[in-house]
């Protein structure tokens, strides 16, 4: 059972539907007991870093999710959910993240010149290190991104895409994973990534 954390940001229709299509049991919930009972957690999110972090804080989920991950439960952050796993974000101010994957979230406008922001569309994944959630994914497969902020490619980057700079596509620190793109919108490639996460 996967718990999709519902903390008032974003639209969870496609994420739930994609897990359902894969035959994976999932529950959309903000209830700590239900999240604790699940074997894996997905932290979704669209919108701004600060607002999302505040929503997590207000629901007493920040420390709770950190504890769940620290106890070894697999956690996957998607899009803004992935960015929240970092130490710090610079979207409309400076905001502390969950600190589960070391690194920071920077504005794309600072790195890309003459390219459109938000970056929206399909981009190729370049795999740099072996990663369990990419076990069914080949180098060069396309995934669907929508974002204005990014985690620069670094030590915890398992795969990246090029958009004026090297943008982390998949990050990993032990049992904690991040996907900057939307696996639930990335066709067959995205479904393979969700399936691999479920199989951890």
């Amino acid at each position: 059972m996967i718990a999709i954390v519902d903390y008032g940001v974003g639209n969870l229709f496609s994420l739930s539907a994609s897990l359902k299509a894969l035959g994976i049991d999932a529950v959309v919930t903000g209830d700590r007991k239900k999240i604790a009972a699940a074997d894996k957690i997905i932290l979704p999110g669209v919108g701004a870093f600060g607002d999302a972090k505040r929503n997590l804080d207000e629901r007493d989920l920040t420390g709770f999710i950190k504890d769940q991950a620290s106890n070894g439960k697999p956690l996957l952050g998607i899009c803004l959910g992935m960015q929240l796993l970092s130490d710090v974000g610079y979207e409309y101010g400076v905001h502390e993240g969950l600190g589960l994957i070391p690194g920071e979230v920077r504005p794309l406008t600072e790195a890309v010149k003459g390219l459109k922001v938000p970056a929206m569309g399909w981009n190729a994944l370049k795999i740099v290190s072996e990663c369990p959630i990419l076990k069914y994914t080949s180098d060069g497969e396309y995934v669907y991104y929508v974002h204005s902020f990014y985690v620069p490619k670094g030590e915890y980057t398992a795969a990246y895409s090029e958009y004026g700079t090297d943008v982390s596509g998949v990050t990993r620190n032990g049992n904690v994973y991040g996907a900057q793109f939307h696996p639930e919108k990335s066709g067959a490639t995205g479904l393979k990534i969700l399936k691999a996460f479920e199989e951890l």
């Binding site: 639209n11 229709f13 496609s14 539907a17 994609s18 359902k20 299509a21 669209v46 919108g47 459109k116 938000p118 970056a119 929206m120 569309g121 399909w122 981009n123 396309y142 669907y144 991104y145 929508v146 090029e162 958009y163 639930e184 919108k185 990335s186 066709g187 995205g190 479904l191």
Partner: protein, 252 residues
């Protein structure tokens, strides 16, 4: 780099996909879920659904279609037709849409663009424009292309961009259904004044039209078509293969 996108557009009326020429003479084509499945398998990068029903009965059928598609096809879905306010945005986003396209609703009340961008993010708001030359000037038409609004298309595009639209869909009424190629003159004029993705619509008749579009206008991000894909005259997989061979990055 982010690839160019090929997008089939499905006009839905009373739960069925239909197709007309120059916005009139509508014919029944197929079941939207079947067609969506076929396009997904052929490599469509996104699907656009326009609800062209006027009745509340038809609207219910449309939401049902949207939910069925979103439950089995996992690529971006854009929805338009009858979007006038934030409640309409909410209704389709909850049923699986990723982006919402506003057209006549924004002409009536331009503030809906900014309000929706603030609530759901720029990336969610698509401004769709139906444009026709009137006395040599690009003019915006409302109500499915039936009403001359008198608005200048270039100014309207700029205004939509500045208000927070995250993408523009430019439908040329002059080339729609004619199959002689996209309206490059209009597309160039508009894409020069905005810094968001621009989707070309209206006029594609063959694979080469897509190559010409992206070669001549590199600032255009996507090509949209309906009839040629519905009829099978042009296959999306062939278009993408040809684009790749022409050196244009696409998802294959």
């Amino acid at each position: 780099m982010i690839t160019k996108r090929i997008i089939p557009c499905l006009d839905v009326r009373d739960g069925r996909v239909v197709k007309g020429k120059n916005f009139v003479g509508i014919r029944d084509v197929d079941d939207p879920v079947n067609l969506g499945r076929r396009y997904n398998a052929a490599g469509a990068d996104e699907l656009v659904f326009y609800d062209i029903t006027a009745s509340s009965e038809g609207r219910k059928l449309f939401i049902d279609v949207l939910e069925r598609v979103a439950s089995e096809i996992f690529i971006p879905l854009t929805v338009g037709g009858g979007i006038n306010n934030l409640d309409d945005f909410d209704r389709v986003l909850k049923s699986g849409a990723d982006k919402v396209s506003v057209n006549s609703g924004a002409i009536r009340d331009p503030s809906v663009i900014g309000a929706a961008a603030k609530k759901y993010g720029d990336q969610c708001v698509v401004l769709s424009m139906d444009v026709k030359r009137v006395d040599g000037r690009f003019t915006v038409f409302g109500k499915g292309g039936r009403e001359n609004t008198g608005l200048d298309a270039i100014k309207w595009a700029k205004r939509g961009y500045r208000s927070g639209a995250g993408e523009l869909v430019l439908n040329s009424i002059d080339t729609d259904g004619v199959r002689g190629g996209f309206d490059l003159e209009l597309l160039e004029a508009v894409s020069d004044v905005v810094d968001i993705p621009v989707v070309a619509s209206g006029g594609a008749g063959k694979t080469e039209d897509f190559i010409e579009l992206f070669k001549k206008l590199p600032r255009i991000d996507a090509g949209l078509a309906a009839g040629i894909f519905h009829s099978g005259e042009v296959e999306i997989s062939d278009v993408k293969k040809a684009l790749k061979e022409a050196g244009i990055e696409v998802r294959i």
